[in-house]
Each structure stands twice: as C-alpha cells, then as structure tokens.
Symmetry: C2
Subunit: 316 residues, 2 copies
C-alpha cells in the first residue's frame, strides 16, 4: 500500500474511531455526580492514538462486518484502557503527574476522585458494551427477524463481552498489573519469564481483545479467533517492547510524558534485561510473525498490515 | 411467620447465599498474579450478612425462579459491594483500618494492591455474571431447546446484566460516592436533598439491583420490576439511615468497625441533619411502605417480609 494512501486512510479511520469513542462518553448533564463524569471524560478526551478501537474496527471490517454493533465495544475498550492509566498514575502506583502532555487525572481532580473516575470508567465500559444488546432489540423491533437470528446475535455479543471481561481482568490486564506492582514494592529482580508475563498481560491482553472481538462480532470461526488472539499477542508484546525502548531513546516532548522514569526508578524493563539491540530485533521479529499470521486470514488486509508495520519503530 | 422458624430459615438461606458467593470466587491457583486474587478473596471472605445475594435469591424464589442462573448474579453483586468497600477504605478516601473486625484490604496488602484488588473485583463481578451465558449454552447443548427459548433466556440475562451495570455505575453507586467524596473534600455543608442523593445512590442502588435482577431472571413483568425497584429503594435508604444511627448509638465490638467516625470527621449524616428520633421514624416509615408494596406482588413473601423487618432496628 502506498505510504500516502495509508496515511490518508489512517487519518480517516482514526477520526471515525475517535468519533465513536466520543459518541459513547457519558453526558455530564446537570446532575449531582457531574464531577466524576467530568473526570472520566477528561481522562478519555486527553487523546492518544485510539489504537485499540482502530484495531477492533479494522478487524471487524476485514471479516466483512458492516453493522453498528462493533461501536459500543470500540468505545468500551478505550474506556478500559483509559481507566487502567488513571489508576496506574495514582501516587500509590506509579505516581505520575504528566500524561500525553497534560496533567494526570489525580493531579487535576485529586486522588479520591481519580480512584472513582477509574472505577466509573471500568463500570461504564461494561455498560457501554452492553448497549450492543439494545442494538439487537432495536433491529428486532424494526425488521422481521427470526428467533434463530436473534439468538445468534445475542450469542455473538455475549461472547464478545466475555472476551472483553476476561482480557481486562485477573487473567488479563489486572493480572499483569499485579505482578508489576509486586515487583516494584518488593524490589524483586524480575526474571525474563516474569517480565514477559507482565507485558503479555498488562499490555497484550487488551490488544488481543481488540482483534478477537472484531472477529467474534463479524462471525469469524473458532480457528480464526485463535489466530487473531495470536496476532494480538505479537502486536501487543512488540508494542510494549517499543514503549520500554522509548523510555530510553524517546524525548519528553514527542511522548507527552516523562521519559527516563523507568531507569530512574530502577525498574526492570525489556531494555534493561535484553539491551536495546535485542529489544529492537525482538520487536521486529514479533511484528513479522504477526504479518505472516495475518496472511492466512480471509478478506483484504493491506491496511491492517500497514497499521501493524507503522507501530514498528514508532517514535511516540 | 414464627420468629424461630424465620431465624432457622434465615440461617439456611444465608448459608446457601454464602456457599454461592464462595463457589464463584476466583481460584488463586499457582499463578504469577495470585497476590491480587488473594487480596480480592480476603476482602470477600471477611464476611458480612450477605444481605444483597440473600435479597436477590429470595426475590428470584418469590417469582418461582428455579434455575442456577441467579447464582452468578448473586456472587457478582457481592463482589461489587465488596470492591466499593475496598476502595472506600483507602487512605485517600475514608482512610479506614478496620472492617468487620479485621484489617481493611489496604492495611493488610498495601494501597497499590488494594486499588488493584478493587479493580479486579469489579471486573470479576462482570465476568462472573456473564457465566450465566454459559449456563444457557450448557442447557441448550443438553436438552432440545427452541430458538425462541434461547433468545428469551439471553434477553433476560442481558437485561439483568444491564441493571447490574447501571445500578453500580455513575447513575447508581459510583454517582453517590462522587458526591460523598466531594462533600468531604470541599467541606460542603450538605443539603437534605444532597444527602438523600448520596444514600439513594451509594447504598440503595445496589439493593434495588438485587430485587430487580431477582425479578428479571424469574420472568417478572415490567410493572413488577418497577415495584421491585421501589421496594429496593425503601429498603436501601432505610438501611443507610440505620447505618448512620449505628455510627452514633452502636459499639465498635458489635459492629466490627470504628464508630463515631462520622461525627469525628464532622461528616454530615442523616442523624446530624434530622436527629435520632426523626431518623428512627423515617427508617420505620420507609420499611412499612416497602412491606405494603411487597403485598401487591405474587408468590409467597412471608420470609421476605420478615427479612426486611429484621433490618429495622438492627444493632449491627
């Protein structure tokens, strides 16, 4: 795919993903609890690449999905990603004050409100994903739809919800955060196995969910979902290796967050364990393997290929 | 209902609810993330009345529900209740060290792990409730079940999940916590309206969810669900008024938590706003109204009546 065509496609796809995320944010209308809603929306609108909704949207499209039903899940995954950042930044966790060039949520709204905003976002992510059920009902009310079709749509949404919850929870993201917190508190010297566990769970699990949910909602088969899970694994771990590298070679301005903090904190990262050169080689290898796996899937995947490639060697 | 019969029935029903909650706890098997699972399970097994699962179980039974399908929801509501306590107890929130006679989660496992344990519990609550979908599939695989039936079971579970998420989120419990946190931080003098909002949302919302989910899963109609929501409102607000009273008239030993903390913190409660006498009268009035509403529902509700009455004037 031509570089310019990709960039213009990326721009329009990102805008679409962005508008979906915005559409599903809660409305901080005039209500007593508007502060927590404001803090939640602040955390989400602070920006970012919207990589997760983008990957989900594109996987869904690859499998010829054409309905609105993917949208609540796109918004939900971004809310879950955001809540994890809000809680990670807390003083009792990473104690970060800057993210994407703006104050972190606790710095702006206070610790208690940041805890609540994170809780609110996690809960609202599930509320949002469950709006897919309303879409099924709405369609059933508008058109003649058989019970078989309704049952099968419910099954897809239920499966997608289950993937979302599992990949975000103790067998996914929260599990990775647990070992990360422990390592920091107990000043553990992490083994390669433990660090990989953290990367697989803290970062790759949600990326896997994006690929899998896109496939599930578009009716991909069991084998295809397994392949999507593997692709998500590779893309996610490669992504985190690059993040660890950027903490060493990046600059604060481009990243919008403080760099060198891992080293300063004496934190074990992929780079401290394997060195920059090996990290770069592993990132490349994982990415290439993901592209090979992608080859075996149906549909057009030129854009997805370019998207995955664009993460390799990124500078922010 | 004879007092002794009620007490013996209460004991066996509580044991049943307890065993359901235990059954659905995650297994802290040998895995890297066992610490967070241990902290989650510690928080849940610390005990309590299991009032919420009990109310849900009994409502389900009242409407002639007979399946296992209510169980994942009983466990889920207790996990959500527990996560809210774990986060409420944090130093940046209420800074409590004692709950039900044992150390609070952050006191025992540290702040970072307590934040994660709360997140893990909230997420796992949804994972658990979604196990109801597996039960539908299992039944469908074992018996000849029509598509109509499968679709309608999915619809009930989806509705129950939606109620759970809404009542736990910004329009429910988290919304109430938000105003509570703000009032404390800004030293707001709460109006009666604002305090009632906190009680309605922080406490009553989850109690409403118990009644409503029990009804939804057993196939109660729309009007009946609305009535159950009202009953939950009354029971929940009465319950919180009694909690505020117990902070003044209770003792640490019976309660298993520090008393007088509201007054010490200069916190506005139902008692500081309305006085003990009025609080008691309002608790009674709300309870009586709940019992009248209960009268209009089908099924046997002697045990539910006694259960609601037993909350009135409780000492712990």
């Amino acid at each position: 795919m031509d570089k310019n065509i990709f960039l213009s496609e990326l721009k329009s796809q990102t805008e679409r993903a962005e508008s979906v995320v915005m559409k599903y944010l809660p409305d901080p209308e005039e209500m007593f609890q508007h502060s927590v809603v404001e803090a939640m929306n602040y955390s989400v609108t602070v920006g970012g690449k919207r990589l997760r909704p983008l990957l989900m949207q594109e996987t869904y499209r690859m499998f010829r999905g054409q309905d609105e039903i993917v949208e609540p899940f796109m918004a939900a995954i971004e809310m879950i990603h955001t809540y994890s950042l809000v809680h990670d930044d807390l003083p009792c966790m990473d104690n970060d004050t800057l993210r994407r060039g703006r104050e972190t949520t606790w710095k702006k709204y206070g610790e208690a409100m940041a805890v609540l905003a994170g809780d609110g976002l996690l809960n609202y992510a599930f509320e949002t994903a469950m709006k897919s059920f309303d879409l099924i009902e709405k369609e059933g009310a508008l058109f003649e739809v058989s019970s078989e079709t309704i049952a099968s749509r419910y099954q897809s949404c239920a499966k997608a919800l289950t993937v979302l919850a599992e990949k975000a929870g103790i067998r996914g993201m929260v599990g990775g955060q647990c070992l990360d917190v422990e390592a920091e508190e107990k000043d553990l010297s992490l083994s390669e196995e433990e660090l990989l566990f953290i990367h697989e769970h803290k970062t790759a699990a949600l990326i896997q969910a994006c690929f899998m949910i896109g496939g599930v909602l578009a009716g991909a088969g069991k084998r295809q979902i397994e392949r999507l899970e593997k692709i998500g694994y590779n893309v996610g771990v490669a992504f985190q290796i690059r993040d660890d590298m950027l903490d060493v070679i990046g600059d604060t301005e481009t990243l919008g967050k403080n760099v060198g903090s891992d080293e300063k904190d004496g934190k074990k990262t992929y780079v401290t364990l394997h060195g920059l050169e090996q990290s770069e080689a592993d990132e490349k290898h994982l990415t290439e393997e993901a592209l090979e796996l992608l080859e075996g899937l149906p549909g057009k995947h030129e854009f997805m290929e370019e998207l995955i490639l664009s993460l390799l060697g990124r500078r922010s």
